[in-house]
Symmetry: none
Subunit: 206 residues, 4 copies
DNA sequence: AATGAATGAGATTTCATTCAT
DNA sequence: GATGAATGAAATCTCATTCAT
């Protein structure tokens, strides 16, 4: 009984903390860190002004820090788990999976990416090593993957590095468009995505 | 004599105004509009605190507005003049010109682009119509250009829209990398640029 | 059985109350009343934040009040009991007793004296009348005591008031040094104390 | 003309800074550092709330620090200059000068001493070395002075160290009484002072 | 008795802007 | 044109206290 009561309270506290982080994420993404008042965050979840210092004694600064770090961990985990699922499919379907994964992760964590993109100081908050190792892994993986497929005769022999850069650029472009809100992004709509993949795979045919 | 003095004054005033705009551009790009104090701008050019209101009676807000509008006009003019120079060259050289133009303009106005992409309010300051018409013109031009070359037998028949998207993505990716400072960008180094163009043109060969 | 439980509870409650008062005494003495947070007191004895209002419904203010009043009563009692023990000893031994009593009481209640001298409001909390009557009694007693000894030929005839002021000053000086922590105080070390008494008694010799 | 204008402004700024320091000194002495609101200081000299951060960017903390350091320097200077004036007078007049000097300096800087006495952290703000060297110099000087006078036959041979301690205690007692406001202090009134000196000198007679 | 999340009044601090010189 | 002291509204932050569990 008493344990249950305590758990209820703990759960409620956890909820409040979560609401705080989520609302801050939304507002920081929309108006920037400096452009978001602590008061606005508090009002957005009907919370008393002082409570934020109960959960984040360092105030707005700590809120941002925790927000970035926790979300960053989630993104890494999410991306890793998605990458494991890319198997021995035909090249067009591999591209489809890569593009869809990218679009889905971008969309899910759009606000975090917006913050990451806008706030210079944020980049000092995360373990850049971890990010770099991760990105580097991906950069090396794709050219190697293409070489194997070329060896198998599925695609032609070409400059696999440049092909990887091109692919990555398409994802980054998609990302930029979504972040700035200047369009829908070329990968969100299935038809567009198919068209792009079809164009690419045709060019790659042996 | 008196006229000369007045001219000196005018020139000095013009210089101060220019320094103000340039320093503000740098600081807004680095720390964001809300994250930059007027005092920091003043200190950066060793100017007294009150003087900014002499040059920009509307204060910080007007400084941003003027900064964006003047730079935006310059960018439009610059890009237009560069585009006129793309003539009847072989496809590889056309790509080279497009990429180099993009890189040079991005690099020159990097800070302005940073501000433009960070601050939501900024987009209300410029005549978005003008920007959109301009971008739209480019978007329609490139597929049409490719079709003509294909008809001339220089490249193969393909999905010209997707090719344009890919090209644009490479430029946007370059831009994103430069803006975030997370790398050098794939178009700034001549060798990398050549490699990418070579890869592309080879794929496009009939 | 039930009674025993209640007794246990009462005892524990008494212990908590005592710990609260003792920790508050230490912290108020160190950082002042305004400079001590209620939260700091609670943390210092690992107590939940709300509980202090169970023991002291008037909060921080009441804690100070009770603290001062209880300690003040103890001090008065302690000093009275010590004074009764000053009997018909030789003058040097009387001084020794007076000095040692002063040192011991100062040391034991140092924190309380620190609070008493720092906080202006504190003086309104205790029955100043009681304090004044007590001090006044001492002030009149010592010159009278000296006169008797002079009449008995133990010391010479002199200005007994000034002698009392001097003696009191030595105690106050000792107190001041201990309160500020700027030294050990001239009465705490037996050798120093003896030297001072010896100097005094020699000057007083008939 | 322009220089005069600038001087006027500088002088006025200096005045504001001075008023700020003086009012803070008074209020800190009266209500303690933690017990004094910044707002109260500002109101006391009819100053806008923000201005304090113009003069003392570190706020209340820096105000205290500067306040203590500047006053401490003044006290050292003042005391040194007064000590130089103690010449070859009869012993009673030397005591009179020492006591009067002490009383006058205590009275002039009473508020600073109150702050120094109350706030533990203040003692870390001043160069304790300097204070200690100064006090140490005084401690050694007085016994030596007494020895010389004893050699000259003006006073008897005795424990000069204890005599110095007694004298110092009388001044410290005076100081404590003034600081706590619990009385007038035994050295402020000429008659009392004379009585004390007379008592002392008579005891010291050879 | 005990807990610690929640409250909110009030404190400190920031910073764009004004204005006398 | 130039200065920087002064202003004060609005922001951030503190902390004694309340209250549901």
């Amino acid at each position: 009984m008493a344990t249950q009561k305590i758990n209820m309270r703990q759960e409620q506290a956890y909820e409040t903390r979560k609401k705080l982080l989520e609302s801050a994420r939304k507002l920081f993404a929309e108006n920037g860190y400096a452009g978001t008042q602590v008061r606005t965050i508090n009002r957005s979840i009907d919370m008393a002004d002082g409570l934020i210092y109960h959960y984040f004694p360092g105030g707005k600064k700590e809120l941002l820090q925790v927000l970035i770090q926790e979300n960053f961990q989630q993104i890494i985990t999410e991306v890793k788990s998605r990458n494991e699922q890319i198997g021995n499919l035909p090249i067009a379907e591999v591209l489809e999976q890569i593009y869809r994964n990218a679009d889905e992760v971008f969309t899910e964590y759009l606000d975090v990416f917006k913050i990451f993109f806008r706030e210079n100081e944020v980049r000092e908050l995360i373990e850049v090593d971890q990010l770099m190792m991760f990105i580097d892994g991906r950069r090396k993986w794709f050219p190697e993957f293409l070489r194997e497929r070329a060896n198998a005769g599925e695609i032609r022999v070409m400059d696999y590095e440049s092909a990887a850069v091109t692919l990555s650029a398409i994802m980054m472009n998609h990302f930029l468009v979504k972040i700035t809100g200047l369009g829908a992004g070329c990968l969100s709509d299935q038809e567009h995505r198919f068209k792009l993949i079809d164009y690419q795979v045709k060019l790659w045919k042996p």
